[in-house]
């Protein structure tokens, strides 16, 4: 088994090592090469701008020669690079892979499909390209001797990046949050969200929201948006307040350990997807929760 890791990080290098055999890393600068030194048998350095998917895909397609599997992170840019490279190489691409094994020239991988209502066990012939879902491969890549090699290529891109705008990013890192208080249409006006922020504060958690709050009403920036097209989260407690529980929202919270929900509508679908549901007016119960929990934490 020979695996090439592109945009290498600890998780990907560990995932590659679980397949056995040789692990190589493709990086796009000397600095990245130093960061993976000792974690891959071979380090290939391609001096191209990885933000340009066509140039990066050219490097991937060239570096992939002789490898059974190309592994990438499941970021938007990496998926684009993966699609381009896979078509160039004439191979399959599996994205958001949860688990995988390679056997007899076949890659078998699991991924969520159909709005996260089902798991597909997909089999594709090797060689292949796969992007790995975050948080699924936790471990240390073994220490090895690294040989560094320059990948000779004259990258061409027809894309021009005219500007880059950083997204306003507060302290919100929902993917890493242990407790999330999430808000939905049950809140009647923007100012009322303050209650949820207070509850999150006493719980030591962060605030998430459903699609309408971020995309339609724009009461919160998109970095708070939890769901299939927003953030996929895995806290130990997900507390959904005034969220009805549309399938697209549920799809983003599947990996939560405990889901609790507050909604005044007993038929809200969120209750079918929660461990603990409270049928109550959020305007009545949230202030009580803030009060009780802050007392609890205070002493």
């Amino acid at each position: 088994m020979k695996t090439l890791v592109v945009f290498p990080n600890k998780e990907l290098l560990y995932a590659a090592s679980t397949l056995g055999g040789e692990v190589a890393a493709l990086v796009f600068s000397q600095k990245e090469a130093e960061a993976v030194s000792g974690k891959a048998h071979k380090i290939l350095v391609a001096e191209v701008d990885p933000r340009l998917p066509d140039a990066a895909a050219e490097a991937v397609a060239k570096a992939a020669a002789g490898y059974d599997l190309v592994l990438m992170p499941s970021t938007k840019n990496a998926k684009t690079v993966g699609g381009l490279a896979a078509q160039k190489l004439g191979v399959e691409l599996l994205v958001d892979v949860l688990s995988m094994r390679a056997e007899g020239g076949v890659l078998t991988a699991e991924r969520y499909v159909f709005g996260n209502k089902a798991v597909a066990a997909v089999q594709v012939p090797l060689p292949a390209v796969a992007t790995v879902a975050p948080g699924r491969f936790q471990g240390e890549p073994p220490a090895v001797q690294s040989a560094v090699e320059k990948l000779a290529l004259a990258p061409t891109s027809r894309l021009k990046i005219a500007a880059v705008e950083e997204k306003s990013r507060g302290a919100v890192r929902l993917e890493e949050a242990e407790i999330i208080v999430s808000v939905g249409r049950g809140f009647k006006k923007k100012e009322d969200l303050q209650m949820a922020f207070e509850l999150a504060k006493v719980l030591g958690g962060q605030v998430g929201c459903s699609r309408p709050i971020a995309a339609d009403l724009k009461w919160l920036p998109e970095e708070h948006w939890v769901g299939l097209s927003g953030k996929k989260v895995k806290p130990k407690l997900y507390l959904a307040v005034g969220i009805s529980g549309q399938p697209q929202h549920i799809a983003g919270i599947l990996d939560s350990r405990i889901i609790a929900a507050i909604n005044n509508d007993p038929s809200a679908p969120i209750f079918q997807n929660a461990d603990y549901g409270v049928v109550e007016d959020l305007y009545k119960i949230v202030p009580i929760l803030i009060n009780k929990i802050s007392k609890l934490k205070g002493g």
């Binding site: 895909a57 691409l93 089902a118 021009k160």
Partner: protein
């Protein structure tokens, strides 16, 4: 590019995943792609293309045509349905080849698609079609302008937005934020009945298809405890919830 996707809202997942009986619908984000095409087409024609991925073929062809009618009612001029036994559950490689062949056939210079489709959500076809055509690709566009033979897009990535330019011809995948898809009027729906839907096979496109992907689906069942607290005063309910959450060790 329109995906005649499985309507996952109607997917039955109690004991087994029944793909064959799940109806097709237009993949949600492809509505945004259709809307953008209609807005940009000007005096030119805008075409829709779909590759039928889900069988059984004969049954799904009718459903796929209905999906395309919807896109025609939104303002596309003509649609292509690639339906071939060999393309059912086919590799993404083959799907992209079939779409690229239709793009060449109609002579389009801009291909628009949703960032990903609602059933499989892999989002790889736009990049693959671009590679197949040898065109540049801009993915996850939340704003798009076409001027002087170039596309300029705001590409919405995880931590930042890039303003990216590319020469035409090009492939662009769009996000839901790019526009508000129109709801066709009754008149437009009637007019769409007269617009052509061209059905093609792989032989018509002169392409062969290699491996199939094998996929086994099983329902994703995460059993939640579903304890519902509905009796008592708000005070009592809050107390019960806190007790449960403390027992679970999460607060």
């Amino acid at each position: 590019m329109i995906k005649t996707a499985l309507d996952t809202g109607q997917l039955r997942v109690r004991d087994a995943v029944v793909v064959e009986e799940t109806p097709l619908k237009i993949s949600d984000i492809d509505r945004n792609a259709v809307e953008e095409a209609v807005k940009l087409k000007g005096q030119d024609k805008a075409y829709g293309v779909t590759v039928l991925k889900w069988g059984p073929l004969q049954k799904k062809i009718q459903e796929a045509e209905n999906v395309l009618r919807e896109a025609l009612a939104m303002g596309l001029d003509e649609a292509y349905l690639v339906a071939d036994e060999k393309l059912l559950n086919a590799s993404h490689l083959a799907t992209a080849k079939a779409i690229a062949a239709v793009v060449k056939k109609v002579g389009a210079d801009l291909v628009l698609a949703g960032e990903a489709t609602v059933d499989n959500y892999t989002g790889q076809i736009p990049a693959r079609v671009a590679a197949e055509l040898g065109w540049p690709v801009i993915t996850y566009a939340r704003e798009l302008k076409v001027e002087g033979g170039r596309v300029v897009a705001r590409r919405d990535l995880e931590d930042h937005v890039e303003v990216v330019e590319a020469p035409l011809p090009a492939v662009v995948s769009v996000t839901r934020e790019i526009n508000q898809p129109r709801i066709p009027t009754l008149l437009a729906i009637r007019a769409a009945m007269k617009k052509p839907i061209n059905r093609l096979t792989l032989a018509d496109l002169g392409i062969g298809v290699e491996t199939k992907i094998s996929a086994a689906y099983k329902p994703l069942v995460i059993q939640r405890k579903k304890v519902v607290i509905k009796d008592g005063t708000p005070e009592e309910k809050a107390e019960k919830l806190i007790q449960h959450l403390r027992q679970e060790g999460v607060i």
